[in-house]
């Protein structure tokens, strides 16, 4: 899923500095799962902003709404009646949410309340790690089910580099060297031969490098695109 971290209160307060009525819009999708923008986080942000404002001797009206998802026009259409009532809207959805909202409601200002970071999963409660780079040509099966594009700091296809030490990436101690894991897995399975030779160069056209992407299911599209 998409992982995001809420922006600092300082940054968010600066965004709505001059606003008197705002909506904080959460999302029940990914940001709820990574505890960045679900109902709880929306309420906590609302209370934090109110505390900050009261401390300044100023007031602010905050309404909250948690949408099913903000990446579907069907769901964001649900706030069409009231969206115009506010000076601004803070969206705690991933970067997709405020963009969809901005497109559907061009007269309203939407602030991103989170910094969207990566595609990943929870390795333990409260900890999320990056797993996928969205390269568009998945070949993890060539690497024992592990992805070097996303998990190697240099996206090596013929790793590890000379900076791999005791299973740790040279970049920082928190990062496991994925190539160390790939090599050990292959060695333990007696499949070292899979790593001999040179893996061909990657076609980055299907990744973000080829330009913004689109995915179409023709069997589902009604009318013209």
């Amino acid at each position: 899923m998409i992982v995001a971290d809420r922006k600092s209160l300082q940054e968010i307060l600066a965004m709505v500095e001059d606003d008197k009525e705002i909506l904080i819009a959460g999302c029940k999708g990914c940001v709820t799962v990574c505890n960045a923008g679900g109902l709880k986080e929306v309420e906590i942000l609302a209370s934090s902003i109110k505390i900050a404002r009261k401390k300044q001797g100023k007031d602010i009206d905050i309404e909250i709404e948690v949408l099913e998802r903000q990446c579907d026009n069907e769901y964001i259409a649900g706030i069409s009646e009231k969206v115009g009532n506010y000076d601004a809207v803070i969206s705690l959805a991933c970067g997709i949410g405020p963009q969809f909202l901005s497109e559907m409601y061009p007269d309203q200002t939407f602030y991103p309340g989170v910094n969207t970071t990566f595609l990943g999963g929870a390795t333990q409660h409260g900890v999320w790690e990056e797993r996928c780079a969205g390269c568009g040509t998945c070949a993890i099966h060539d690497f024992g089910g592990l992805c070097p594009i996303a998990r190697c700091a240099k996206s090596l296809m013929n790793g590890p580099c000379g900076g791999s030490s005791q299973g740790i990436c040279e970049v920082n101690k928190e990062i496991v060297c994925i190539w160390d894991l790939i090599v050990r897995k292959k060695m333990e399975a007696g499949k070292l031969a899979d790593l001999m030779g040179v893996k061909g160069v990657k076609n980055w056209k299907s990744a973000r490098h080829g330009g913004p992407r689109k995915s179409i299911r023709e069997e589902l599209v009604q009318g013209n695109i």
Binding site: S8, L9, Q10, K40, E43, I44, S47, S48, K50, I51, A52, K54, K55, Q56, G57
Partner: protein, 114 residues
């Protein structure tokens, strides 16, 4: 035990401090409380195993938030004691109240007409 503790303390009973949410603590500050503290069981003795540990982590989160907002993090505290420790209960209440008196009224109240 008929020990006294300051009348400035309003007690809200919960079945386990694990029930206390970040939002409860923030709302208290937002509504003008000068201080909020959470009194949970001694660590290792939680009837619900980890409720008091979760409470402590939430209190830490609220302290960080208050710091970010320029409010003294000492206004929110976590204490641990057993239900048999009546004297300690009174002691904590007195300690918290005197600490808050030292800090003065909450800056949230200062500018609030209400």
């Amino acid at each position: 035990m008929r020990l006294s503790y300051p009348a400035d303390v309003k007690i809200i009973q919960v079945p386990c401090t694990g029930r206390v949410d970040i939002l409860h603590l923030l709302n208290a500050i937002e509504d003008g409380a000068d201080g909020v503290y959470v009194a949970g069981c001694l660590e290792g003795e939680c009837h619900y195993i980890e409720g008091n540990l979760k409470a402590r982590r939430k209190v830490e989160y609220v302290k960080r938030t208050l710091t970010e907002l320029g409010i003294e993090p000492e206004r929110v505290q976590m204490y641990n004691l057993s239900s048999a420790q009546g004297a300690r209960f009174a002691e904590i209440a007195n300690e918290m109240v005197s600490q808050i008196r030292e800090l003065g009224p909450s800056p949230v109240k200062k500018n609030n007409a209400a």
